[in-house]
Amino acid sequence: MLSDSARSEIQNLMAQYPRARSAILPALYVAQQEIGWLPDEAMDEIALLFGMEPAEVYAIAGFYNMFYKEPKGKFHLEICTNVPCMLRGSGNIADYLQERLGIGFGETTADGNFSLDHMECLGSCATGPVVFARRSQSAWGRYFENLTPGQVDVMLDELLLEDALPGEQTPARPYHHDHHPETNYLLARIDKPHSHKIETYLADGGYETARKALAMEPAEVIETVKKAGVRGRGGAGFPAGVKWGFIPKDIYPRYLVVNADESEPGTFKDRLILEFDPHQLLEGIICTSWAIQAHYAFVYVRGEYMFAQERMKTAIAEAKAKGFLGKGIFGSDFDLEVIIHSGAGAYICGEETALLSSLEGYRGHPRLKPPFPAVAGLYAKPTIVNNVETISHVRHVMEHGADWYRQWGTERSPGLQLISLSGQVKKPGVYEIPYGMTFRELIYDYAGGTVDDRPIKSIIPGGLSMPQILPDALDVGIDFESIVGAGSMLGSGGVIVICEGESIIPIARRAMSFYVEESCGKCTPCREGGSWMEKILKRIEAGEGTLEDLETMARVTKYIDQQSFCPFGPASVWGLQSTLRLFGDEYKDFILETNPNGHKPDIPVRPIYRADSGELHENLLDDATLAPLVP
């Protein structure tokens, strides 16, 4: 069913990785690009190419949302309805899209032109509402940002008229960093014309740092990063240099994996680096790979960041042409291959062990720790997984030194940090701030205050997963330790501002729906508990809640928090727990108002089904598997 060219493309992809199986997601993309979706026959064929059981391929394809298991319209439009976009009015645009196309979510227009779906965070929180548009039979998709109904019309007309997606995306640049240019390092070049090109990068002194690092002993590089105290920006804040030091001696090969699976709602900082200053990341990769002596660096970019992937691939080609990547970089005898690996729509792959499972060509399930990746990671070899921003900081630390870095921030959270600010503020965007700066300064000074100067109801300080804090924490410093003191965590630095007038219940419900959608399904508490919580929240929203539900949620979220396999479980309920804690009265009032008699829901009875007789006949499946009752 696949063309010869697709087959040979897949074989080339297989050869690109140390182990062929890693090319399974890329191969599925190739098949989907050619056919428009993934019929069973295509998966069967891919299984044969990879020497796998078809069930394995099917299981993998089913895990990742960007693979179509059924045909889609010519264009597939997905609108983000997650909390940050919701706060920016994506609900209206979603309604408008449905009305304009005359279809609901999950449907395709009668003419087969458009399929519409709602979508989880696209990393466009400051420029929402946003639609991710793909042409089903192509590898290309792009964002349409800052959408208004008028722009939706333009978008739809343009797509139909051109019968194609515009190839070059000119994304909105959602940042306002001119307040304190003296702290702009990571963002310093973002506004320059052609900031992503190697020529402009070289003109700014680019790749000199990498050259310098290669002249140092690897241990020295690690020592410098350790001394600077660069903390991981993916969420946990673990010191990068210390992590690198965990690599066992004498075990090779080693791998660097850059986590660019930025999917935490409210976080969109890495996207800026990937799209507008990819060379600073590459330079950071070179420094880091040298430090840990890795000859392969993988950048795992979330699937929706297609534009970022293109920019990274171009940057790698440019750097390769200059001899900065590939065999014997900078004339040394050090080889370094950088491979851009596209995710395919699975938030959990931001968790480092799940990312490694995915990169190895499996479903993105997290793995047991220990062993930690630094000891046994990719292909069970020592592997350092760091966030895009972390690696980018490495480049600047190597240029300016550890003392330079430590001049900013606090003792335990030294340096600068990218904050993704979204929600109901005047100027949402990415800000490069020194650790320790207060929320008040960020929101009122950098971002010009809240929309319509409304009072703040609540702040999510570190991406959607983090517990909410109240405005009384406005003078708390934005650093790992201070936020913990305020009852939350800095996480990935995604600050979402919620103003008075917003109801907390739809926000909590929408957040829970996200985790239910993204749960990998491996462990019981997250898989079963998450969807239970969502069902309760939906019922409360629908006016059928009871006060007992609040107790149940408090109790069950405790199990999810404390008993899940990986950090996703706790992250999925911290927000809910914080709203129950901080806004308990709001829940109560709403429940008492909508269901004053405390009427409990009727427990639905299982539809009657008939067990088959056990005889073998062809239609057994149809016969025995009665369709479930559709609620």
Partner: protein, 843 residues
């Protein structure tokens, strides 16, 4: 890592092995930590979160999963703490919210870990008011296994079993989050040969036995610990029956034999006790037709028939065929009757004298686990012994065991092989000689040996590169703990003597001939030989010329034994038109296997067949004695590693059928009532006790002390010196232009034989085709599904064709045991190693 350390659980200090999982350490101390995803035979996963306990650490107590936590000295755990109990209750509540709780109609109810643990670790109350998730129910994964996705709690055991033991991940988790289900590829089927194991390890009723479901309740069955007799591995299982009907087979652990797995043939092909065609009563030929008679009359006819001939033509005019499928006791008593009472050594079985098997089988099956090298020659465990095949895969994949495979087909295990050599039939001797030469060359480079003259002249072997030969030579020479076996493909028929000689030469050269063993196919081929069902060996494998052994038996049997070697299986049939006037055939069907033998049977004056079915041979008999199947009678079987195991009676015999050994007892007492002092074994344990007296290697065994894991007789009890074997070549059948293909014959798991066909739900699985390589098929203008005629000098059979690229070009593969196309039809005087032609047949 095996140091003993001390850990504390709930204040109680217990000894544990350093690094073992907490679940295992606790279990030893009698603390049964509940688990679902964890399974002793599978890698830890930590997914279900049922086994949470608190562990004390530097930062206080934390919940950990016992199934993934290795214990270290001084570790402190709390299992019964309030927090740990609450945590487990929480997990249990979450597991149950979407579980259908349809226990009253679930096969697993009564033996269900979820049910048991819900009782022990649940709160008894659900707070879940929402609608449960709906998924597929009663959904067949194959003809054998049913899936209920709603009952499934997603522990992944089934997926992991197929991955870790079968290396066939045919089940996977599909979708994700709450929508996650276990499923198969839509177009695919679960066809791994041990797929049924996932039913046993499923901790809920999600996977059920499609053949047996709804036919029993676990608390209302009689459980008989037994073994499987489909092949010579002798996997341990339990026969569960109710109202004297077999309901199901489940596996039983025996680490020396089958770990805790059985294959799907052993699990599902249980239909023999229920088959409507089972012989219900004795038959005798009256007026030219077989008609029901009483046991008295039937036995009297046998006695009269045999005595008439013995008195007229002498005892050597009578012969008997035993069976590798029947128990030691049945075979032993047949031998005792023929030798001691009739007075002839004309006794053999199909896999007897004609099969060049090492009389000690294989050293030990469990050697595979620790082997650093596995050599398979003319043996295809995937089809012949699937549980062993899984152990081999695991050794290769997990322990880094190297694998050398020499086989006429590219068998499934070939994909794990370091060296796979694919000689055409007739090319084997040259190949083994080349291996011997390569090994000697390697030795010469290191030392002083020289290649003997007879080996110098061997020709080049097409199917082996110099590198492959050198690698095979190096691997065998370096192996410290090899598992080396040859199978029936190389031990039977014309030329086998040279092949076995040549392969033995190679292994002597490599210095590992002591580890060479023979892998039998039939359940009791080893035992039948041990019982002396051979024309020239006595029970206990002493040659009949061994005067001491003979006189010991004569004393016990109170008789005189014939001293001249008797005729072999083939010899007796061939002499049916001459010396042999009467045959007593027990559990064997020569006519079914080779229809041409019907002529011989017809020529006999008197034919007795003792069997469970009215076989092709039985249809020609003068007296047919209905036998009980092994499930309906008791007996012991000796597997291919000489492990003697019990198979007690599980259900009552069908109709008037009687256990084989008991038939022989009655026959003997009727044949010579005066001999009753020597024939007084009235129970199976008494028969076995007599065997222990007669066969020295069974000397220390008794029915009781065989226990439930059996006993292996000492390989050293039968020393076998192996010598280099020189030969002049020319042992292969010459090529013949009229018959351009070499015939390759071996057994497939899904065969067309009686015991398998008896399970009607499975009979359609049998592979009923001849197979050709795609190139050969193309040359002949044939495609899969075409009806073809395979013909040799001896005869022809018609079969549908299957094009299969694992078949070597120039060969045709035909499986054994197809009643509609018995491959024996093609065997000429040289047996299975013959030349054939393939033609498109008119349908």
């Amino acid at each position: 890592m095996s140091d003993w350390i001390t850990i504390t659980i709930d204040g109680q200090e217990i000894k544990a092995k350093n690094g073992e999982l907490l679940t295992a350490a606790a279990a030893r101390a009698g603390i049964d930590i509940p688990v679902f995803c964890s399974h002793p035979k599978l890698d830890p996963l930590g997914a279900c979160r049922m086994c949470l306990v608190e562990q004390e650490g530097p930062r206080g107590k934390a919940l950990v999963t016992a199934c993934t936590t290795p214990v270290r000295d001084g570790a402190i755990f709390h299992y019964e703490s309030e927090k740990a109990i609450d945590a487990r209750q929480g997990t249990m509540e979450l597991i149950l919210i979407n579980h259908p709780l349809d226990c009253p109609i679930c096969d697993k109810g009564g033996e269900c870990p979820l049910q048991n643990q819900a009782l022990e670790h649940g709160t008894g109350k659900s707070h879940f008011w929402e609608e449960k998730r709906h998924k597929a129910k009663g959904y067949p994964l194959s003809d054998l296994v049913m899936l209920d996705q709603e009952r499934c709690i997603l522990c992944w055991r089934c997926i992991r079993y197929l991955q870790e033991w079968e290396d066939k991940p045919q089940l996977g988790l599909f979708h994700r989050g709450g929508e996650t289900v276990v499923d198969k590829f839509p177009e695919g089927e679960l066809d791994a040969y041990t797929s049924g194991s996932i039913i046993d390890i499923c901790p809920v009723g999600a996977l059920t036995n499609r053949l047996s479901r709804f036919s029993y309740r676990p608390w209302d069955i009689d459980r008989t610990p037994s073994i499987c007799t489909h092949c010579a591995q002798g996997c341990n299982l339990i026969i569960d029956s109710r109202n004297n009907e077999v309901r199901r087979h489940v596996s039983r652990e025996n680490m020396a034999v089958n770990d805790e797995w059985i294959c799907d043939k052993g699990r599902f092909a249980t239909g023999i006790t229920k088959h409507p065609d089972r012989l219900q009563e004795p038959l005798a030929r009256i007026d030219g037709k077989l008609q029901p008679v009483s046991w008295q009359e039937a036995l009297q006819r046998v006695v009269t028939g045999l005595k008439t001939i013995v008195q007229r033509d002498g005892p050597d005019a009578v012969g008997a065929l035993g069976s590798a499928k029947l128990s030691n006791e049945a075979n032993y008593l047949l031998g005792k009757f023929m030798r001691g009472m009739v007075g002839t050594n004309n006794i053999d079985f199909r896999e007897g004298a004609a099969l060049l098997a090492d009389p000690r089988g294989v050293p030990a099956l469990a050697d595979v686990r620790e082997a650093d090298l596995i050599v398979l020659m003319g043996s295809d465990p995937s089809e012949e012994m699937p549980v062993l095949a899984n152990l081999i895969k695991r050794a290769a994949k997990r322990n880094g065991a190297r694998l050398i495979i020499i086989h006429p087909r590219r068998i499934e295990l070939a994909k794990y092989a370091d060296v796979f050599l694919n000689p055409t039939p007739a090319e084997e001797v040259a190949l083994f000689d080349a291996l011997t030469r390569a090994t000697m060359q390697a030795r010469m480079e290191a030392g002083d040996e020289e290649i003997p003259d007879w080996l110098r002249e061997t020709e080049e072997v097409e199917s082996a590169s110099v590198e492959a030969l050198a690698l095979a030579a190096r691997l065998t020479m370096q192996a410290k703990n090899p598992f080396i076996v040859y199978g029936a493909d190389y031990a039977w028929g014309f030329g086998a003597r040279d092949i076995v000689g040549a392969l033995t030469n190679w292994l002597i050269t490599a210095g590992c001939e002591e580890r060479l063993g023979f892998l039998h196919n039939q359940a009791n081929a080893q035992g039948a030989g041990d019982m002396g069902i051979l024309p020239d060996y006595l029970p206990g494998r002493s040659p009949i010329s061994d005067r001491k052994a003979r006189s010991a038996i004569e004393t016990l049997w109170q008789t005189t034994l014939p001293t001249q070697p008797g005729l072999s299986y083939g010899g007796m049939i061939a002499s049916a038109r001459g010396r042999i006037k009467a045959l007593y055939i027990m559990g064997s069907d020569p006519v079914g296997e080779k229809p041409a033998d019907a002529d011989s049977m017809k020529a006999l004056e008197f034919l007795v067949v003792q069997d469970v079915f009215l076989t092709k041979t039985a249809q020609m008999a003068d007296v047919v004695l209905p036998a009980a199947s092994y499930i309906e009678s008791a007996g012991t079987f000796t597997n291919t590693e000489r492990r003697v195991q019990r198979a007690p009676q599980a259900v009552r015999p069908v109709g008037k059928s009687v256990a084989d050994w008991a038939i022989l007892m009655h026959l003997a007492l009727r044949y010579d009532p005066a001999a009753s002092a020597a024939w007084k074994t009235a129970t199976i344990s008494e028969v076995f006790a007599e065997i222990a007296q007669v066969a020295p290697m069974y000397a220390d065994m008794s029915w009781e002390n065989l226990g439930e894991q059996g006993q292996q007789w000492d390989r050293e009890a039968l020393p076998m010196g192996k010598r280099m074997h020189a030969y002049s070549g020319g042992s292969a059948t010459p090529t013949d232009k009229r018959y351009p293909y070499r015939l390759v014959v071996s057994s497939l798991l899904w065969d067309g034989g009686t015991t398998f066909s008896a399970t009607s739900e499975m009979a359609h699985l049998a592979s009923r085709s001849a197979r050709l390589h795609p190139h050969d098929a193309a040359d002949l203008g044939l495609a899969s599904g075409d009806l073809v005629e395979v013909l040799s000098v001896a005869g022809s059979i018609k079969l549908p064709l299957r094009v299969d690229d694992s078949i070597k070009p120039g060969t045709v593969f035909v499986p054994f045991s197809l009643p509609e196309a018995p491959v024996g039809t093609l065997f000429d005087s040289q047996g299975p190693r013959t030349n054939v032609a393939v033609l498109k047949a008119a349908s």
